[in-house]
């Protein structure tokens, strides 16, 4: 219980420090390896889908 309270206090202190610097938050998000992996996975999923995509068809028809 005491350890958990100390942990919570330490988290809150770190959080307060982090929240002072929004640019740092953005940098952590932009440089996240986890999100890069998700992006690669999404690109792979998209590559499996048949072309043209429905929105491409719609825009092509609208332009012709």
């Amino acid at each position: 219980m005491y350890d958990q309270m100390e942990k919570d206090k330490s988290y809150e202190a770190k959080l307060e420090e982090l929240l002072k610097d929004k640019e740092r938050i953005y940098e952590i998000i932009r440089n996240s390896p986890a999100l890069k992996r998700r992006n690669e996975k999404a690109a792979a999923s998209l590559a499996k889908l048949p072309r043209p995509f429905p929105w491409e068809k719609q825009k092509s028809e609208a332009n012709s």
Binding site: I29, L49, F53, K59
Partner: protein
Amino acid sequence: MNKDCYQFSKRSDGFTYTFISEGIRGRIVKGVLISPLYSAFTYPFSSVYNLAFGDLVPFHDTWMLDDSVRSGNGDMPKVIATVVRIAMDFLVRNHNSILSFEGYMDEKSVLRGKNHRNLLYQRAINSNWAELSKDFKFWGASGRKIDSYSVGIAYDTILVGLI
């Protein structure tokens, strides 16, 4: 979308967003990143972007973004509604773009054979369908198939663009 949402802020690049979840476990910083999947050259009629998000968690002396975590903060519907709102914000500013989003499959989702986060995304879309479908066109993809979005069908990936 009139659902209860968190206030979010975005970087000047327009691709990086953050907001703070406040729930039973306290405050958790959330990060959302929108990244291009293919160039406009490859897909001449629109650019496709991916939306991914996660929690900022302490890691040694710094912080890292974890997209696999179940926060357990008791506010998931509000968090998902905020992410959907961010998606709409991006699309309104990037008219010819398509946004793709696919939830993280955690162990629980794999065991149940259902993508828990996608179900929550879809619940947020479905419960606001009348309003959202006026301005946005949705598609759902599963495996190698892509169709116009139908309320009630579960998809692996959800794609959305402005009408």
